[in-house]
């Protein structure tokens, strides 16, 4: 599949993805009103956002549709990091006296979303050769979701990891203990407001000038 060197980001392939449209249609019809957003990238992937009340049912419906391979389950925290990009580039050094930048707005990705935290899961169908990426909004004051571990046994470990990394809880999970972090670890590391302390204490000693974008002043320097 060679991409044409034109401005259009899509390939010179059919502009619609019939197979994925059909999957989306069937899924929507079987799930009822649970589907609140979707996105298809032609020839590539299908995103479906369901609401929390239908999260477990979505798993069951997908499994019955042939999506029996459990890929992963995790989450996305859409809050823009309050620590900035934490980059080591000269342009990111905060010079004393400059006003702080406006905090960015929170923008969700494909298939939309309204909340800061979204569950992210992916299932795959070996017979169809396609996967579905599921998303689910979690309200900030109630970060719970039903567990998928009775439908897909592999979700057990993934939910444990999501819990300790983001601070969720999964109803009905049989063994909710820490996966990676020590028992006395405080905080949820993958939240955007969890700082990496080493970077807060001092900047990276290897900071070098980043080569400016082509067209801007020509200073010599190594990127990376």
């Amino acid at each position: 599949m060679s991409s044409a060197d034109t401005e259009t980001p899509e390939e010179a392939a059919p502009a619609t993805d019939d197979a994925r449209e059909a999957v989306l249609a069937e899924f929507t019809s079987r799930l009822g009103g649970g589907v609140v957003g979707s996105h298809i990238r032609v020839g590539d992937d299908l995103w479906i956002r369901v609401d929390r009340a239908h999260w477990l049912e979505a798993a069951e419906v997908a499994k019955s549709m042939g999506y029996r391979f459990f890929d992963f389950l995790s989450a996305i925290d859409w809050l823009p990091s309050p620590f900035g990009r934490d980059m080591d580039a000269q342009e990111d050094l905060v010079v004393a006296g400059t006003p702080a930048k406006e905090p960015e707005a929170m923008v969700q990705g494909y298939a939309g979303g309204d909340t800061r935290f979204q569950l992210l899961a992916r299932l795959y169908s070996i017979s169809a050769g396609m996967g579905i990426t599921f998303k689910c909004d979690l309200p900030d004051d109630d970060l719970t979701a039903p567990t998928w571990s009775n439908v897909f046994a592999g979700a057990n470990w993934h939910e444990r990891e999501a819990r300790e990394m983001f601070g969720f809880s999964f109803d009905g999970h049989p063994n909710m203990i820490n996966m990676y972090l020590p028992v006395d670890f405080v905080g949820n590391p993958l939240r955007k407001d969890f700082p990496l302390l080493a970077r807060r204490v001092r900047p990276w000693p290897g900071i070098v000038d980043v080569e400016p974008m082509p067209g801007v002043a020509d200073e010599e320097g190594e990127g990376e």
């Binding site: 990676y180 972090l181 020590p182 670890f185 590391p189 969890f194 990496l196 302390l197 080493a198 970077r199 990276w204």
Partner: protein, 166 residues
């Protein structure tokens, strides 16, 4: 040996003891991550054979080891185990910290779960930099350690001053 501890060992004998100690190191591999593979290549593969230096790998337990090579990333969860391992080794014991993760945290210097250098936990004799260091680099580190042992003052070591791990 009372002579050794009190420092009254005659110099030629001390030298002989040091030489024999440096050529009879039993090295325990605490292989954690990628460096463990390079350490395995150094210790177990016929190409970078470490036995020609007098170092024998694979002791049955740390209680029989002279040297421990900490190869790989030490996480905070594993840190108590490293300290326990060090305490299990009998004196005189040496530590080689292999790879940048064990030296200073390495590429994970800003991670929330990595101990930034194993020297925060146990005293280290030789640091072998690299990510991962080539097996030859580890061999050079072992040779440096051997030179250090050769010039060591045994009295100071055997006096029994406790090495404080805080």
């Amino acid at each position: 040996m009372g002579l050794v501890e009190s420092g009254k060992l005659p110099k030629p004998l001390a030298k002989l003891l040091n030489i024999s100690r440096k050529y009879s190191i039993w090295a325990y591999q605490w292989g954690l991550a990628c460096c463990a593979i390079e350490m395995g290549a150094a210790f177990a593969s016929p190409r970078y054979d470490v036995m020609r230096l007098g170092v024998i790998p694979f002791p049955a337990s740390p209680r029989q080891a002279d040297l421990v090579v900490i190869a790989g990333t030490v996480t905070d969860k594993l840190a108590p185990a490293v300290v326990r391992l060090y305490e299990q080794m009998p004196d005189p014991k040496y530590v080689i910290s292999m790879g940048s993760c064990a030296n200073c945290g390495g590429p994970y210097w800003d991670s929330y779960s990595v101990t930034k250098g194993v020297d925060q936990l146990i005293p280290v004799d030789v640091y072998v930099p690299g990510c991962p260091p080539r097996p030859e680099a580890l061999l050079e580190g072992i040779i440096l350690l051997q030179e250090r042992i050769a010039h060591e003052d045994m009295a100071a070591r055997w006096k029994g001053e406790p090495i404080v791990i805080s």
